[in-house]
Symmetry: C2
Subunit: 390 residues, 2 copies
C-alpha cells in the first residue's frame, strides 16, 4: 500500500481551504505533492532529454502511456530491457495511464464490452482487446511505479443515461483491475501501486456513487477522470471541488489531463495533489510560452529585437542562456532547437509553479498567492491569440 | 594577421607524410588543428543545444552561414544583438562561409557579374546582390572570428573553359574581398580574420594558378573550395594533395564541405587542418550513426532488442545513457529526442576522431593508425545501405 502523508493544509482552520501539501514514497524516490508530471507518452518527454528533465526542469515523476507503449515498442522489448525505467534511462518514479483515454480518443472501431474494450490501433489498424486484467499485465511489463485502472472516459457533453451506464462499467472494471493487481506481481525489483479512477461526467450523484464504490476497493490513490474534455472551467472546478470531498484524505488525489497553469492552481485549491498535461510541451512546440507575466507567442513580430530572457523570474536553461529574439529566430527558421528550448522552459515553469504552490501551502499563504498569481500569469502578451488548449 | 603555429608533422622525415598538428588563436579562444567544425547554418547546430555542443561534444569552433543569416534574421537584428556570438550564446570561435556556395546551390535566377552575383532568395524569391564588399560587410555584422571571401563554386564535372573563367572571377573577387576587409573594421570587441578560397575545379594548372594568385594577397588562411561536389573520392584526394603543396605552410588549410570520416582522415594525411560538413548532423536525423566499428542505420530491425550503447568506445551523453534499442524506438515513434541524441553522438564521433588524429600526429603514429581506423569505421553494419552523403 502506498504511504501518503499530508504534511500540511493551507490554514485548515479557515473554512474552505482544501489545498494540501504531502509526500509519498516509491522505490524510485519520493514525490512531493502537489506535483506536476511531464507527459512522456512514448517513453520520452517530447523534445527534452532525461538530463534536462531531471536536473534543470526538476521533474519528480513522469507520466507515460500504456496504450502507446503496448503498441510500440511492445511489451516484449520493454520486458527484455528490464522495464521502462531502464529502457528510457529514467530512475525516478513513473506513472502510466491505463490507455482508457487513448482508446477513446485515438483508436477507431472501439467496441465496449462488459469485460473490456476492443479497438483498432491508430498506427496500423490492427485489432486489440484491453481488459482490466490485460492493462494490469501490460503495466507489469512496463514496470511503472503507479499504474492506473482501465476505465471508460465519457465525452462532454454526455447524456445522463450514458454517463450512468459508463460509470457502472468503470466501477465493475475497477473490481477486476484490483483483483488482477492482487493476483499478479511486479516483474522487476520494485513495488508497483494502483490508482482507481472516479468517473461520472458532470453529474454529482454519479461522481458520489463512483467515489463510494471505488473507495471500497482501497486503491493506493484516486484519480478524477472524465474532466478537461471540453467542459467550461467552472464546471470542472465545481465537479473537482465536489469530488475531492468524497475522496480519502490519506491518499493522493490526481486530476487527469489538467491543464492550464490557472486550472492547476484552482484545482490545488480544491484539494488536488497530482496533475499531468501535454499543454506545456505542446504549446512550446507552437511557440507559446508561459511566463510569470503572462503568455507569449514568440513568433510574434514584437519579439524580433527583444533580447530579454523569456521570463525575468525564471532560472531554467533557456532563460539563463537565450533571448526571446533568438528563440523567435529559431522558430521562424524551423530549427529543432526552438522546440527543445521552449519545452524546457514551459515544463520548468509548470513545475516551479506547482513547487511554489506547495511552499505557500506550507506557509499558510496559498490562497492569497494563488489569486494574485492567476491574475498575472493569465495575461496574453500578444496580439495573436492562441488556441492550443491540449 | 592570424597567428598559426604548426606544432608537429607526422614523422616529417618520412617522405610523403604531410599530416600536421597546429593551433591558432582568436579572441574567442584557441583552435587546435586538425579541427572539425559542426555546421550551424542558421545560428544553431541542428537539434543540439549550445551546452551539449561545448561540454559534451567539445566543439572548438562552429561554422555558420552568411547567406542564411543575411536572409534571416538579417544583419539589423544581428547588429542589435551585438553579433552572432551573443545572439546564439556561443562564446567560442565562429567561422562564416561567405554564401558563395549557397548562392550556387540554393538560390534561383543566379546572375554572375564581374562585380558580384545577383540572386533570388530561396525563402521568398526576393532579389539580392552579393559583391565581395557586401559579404565582408555582412560578416562584419555577424562578427565571425573567421570570415570567408566571396567565390564562385564550380560544379562537377566542369568544362575546362568554364573552370578557367570562374577561377579568374574568384581571383578577381579575392582582391576586392581583401581590399574591403582592409578598409573595414570589426563592429564588436574582437578581431576578425579573412580566409581566401582556392578554386580551379579538378584542373591542377588552375588550382596552381588560383593558389599562386591568392597567396599574393596574404590571407589569414586558405581554403580549398569546389571539391566534395560529386567528384570521385580519389579525384578529391588527388586535387587536395596537389593543392596543399601550393599552400603556405604557416597558414591554416581548410577543405570546405568534407566529408565522410574516412575522407577527413585521408585529407588530414594530405595536409588539411580544418573541416566542416553537414554529414554528422544530417545523417543523424536519418538514423545513420557513425561508430568506431562502422556505420549503423538504427531503424534497422536488428537493433530492436540491442540494449548496448551505440558505440562501445564512445563516452558521449547518448552512449553513456541510452541503448540502440531505445534510439530505434524513438526514431520509429517519430520522437524529437531521437534527432538530438543521434546528432550529439555523430558530432562527438567526428570531433573525437579528429582529436585522436591530432594526438597520433603528435606521437608520429598517424599514418598507421589512419589506415587501421578507416578500415574499421567504413564497415556498414546494416542490410539497408544509406545514401545520405550530404
Amino acid at each position: 500500500m502506498l504511504k501518503y502523508s499530508v504534511i500540511s493544509k493551507d490554514n485548515p482552520d479557515k473554512l474552505g481551504n482544501k489545498a494540501r501539501a504531502g509526500i509519498f514514497e516509491t522505490d524510485h524516490g519520493s514525490v512531493e505533492t502537489p506535483a506536476f508530471m511531464p507527459v512522456g507518452t512514448q517513453g520520452t518527454v517530447k523534445a527534452v532529454n532525461q538530463n534536462f528533465l531531471e536536473y534543470d526542469i526538476k521533474a519528480q515523476i513522469v507520466l507515460s502511456n500504456t496504450y502507446h507503449l503496448y503498441l510500440r515498442p511492445g511489451t516484449e522489448i520493454l520486458e527484455n530491457a528490464g522495464g521502462l525505467h531502464k529502457f528510457m534511462n529514467w530512475q525516478k518514479p513513473i506513472l502510466t495511464d491505463s490507455g482508457g483515454y487513448q482508446v477513446y480518443s485515438l483508436s477507431s472501431l472501439r467496441k465496449l464490452k462488459d469485460d473490456g474494450v476492443e479497438f483498432r490501433s491508430h498506427l496500423d489498424g490492427s485489432s486489440h482487446f484491453f481488459s482490466p486484467e490485460k492493462v494490469i499485465q501490460i503495466q507489469r511489463s512496463i514496470g511503472s511505479d503507479i499504474m492506473m485502472v482501465l476505465d471508460e472516459c465519457t465525452p462532454y457533453p454526455c447524456e445522463y443515461e450514458y454517463a450512468e451506464k459508463s460509470t457502472r462499467l468503470t466501477s465493475n472494471w475497477a473490481v477486476l483491475n484490483k483483483d488482477a493487481f492482487e493476483k499478479s506481481k511486479p516483474l522487476y525489483d520494485h513495488e508497483q501501486f494502483l490508482f482507481g479512477i472516479i468517473q461520472g461526467s458532470t453529474y454529482k450523484e454519479l461522481r458520489e456513487k463512483s467515489a463510494s464504490e471505488l473507495k471500497k476497493l482501497d486503491f493506493d490513490g484516486y484519480a478524477i477522470g472524465g474532466l478537461a474534455v471540453g467542459e467550461p472551467a467552472e464546471v470542472m472546478y465545481d465537479i473537482t471541488d465536489f469530488t475531492t470531498d468524497m475522496m480519502p484524505e490519506d491518499k493522493p488525489r490526481y486530476l487527469m489531463g489538467v491543464g492550464r497553469p490557472e486550472n492547476i492552481l484552482e484545482s490545488i485549491d480544491r484539494g488536488i495533489d497530482m496533475f499531468d498535461c501535454v499543454m506545456p510541451t505542446r504549446n512550446a512546440r507552437h511557440s507559446v510560452l508561459f511566463t510569470s507575466d503572462g503568455v507569449l507567442t514568440l513568433t510574434n513580430a514584437k519579439f524580433k529585437e527583444d533580447f530579454e530572457k523569456v521570463d525575468q523570474n525564471c532560472d531554467c536553461y533557456t532563460c539563463k542562456n537565450y533571448s526571446r529574439a533568438y528563440l523567435r529566430h529559431l522558430f521562424n527558421a524551423g530549427e529543432l532547437l526552438a522546440l527543445e528550448l521552449a519545452s524546457i522552459h514551459n515544463l520548468h515553469f509548470y513545475i516551479s509553479l506547482v513547487s511554489e504552490a506547495r511552499k505557500r501551502i506550507l506557509e499558510g499563504s496559498f490562497k492569497e498567492w494563488k489569486n494574485k498569481t492567476i491574475e498575472k500569469i493569465s495575461i496574453k502578451n500578444n496580439s495573436r491569440e492562441n488556441g492550443m488548449e491540449e
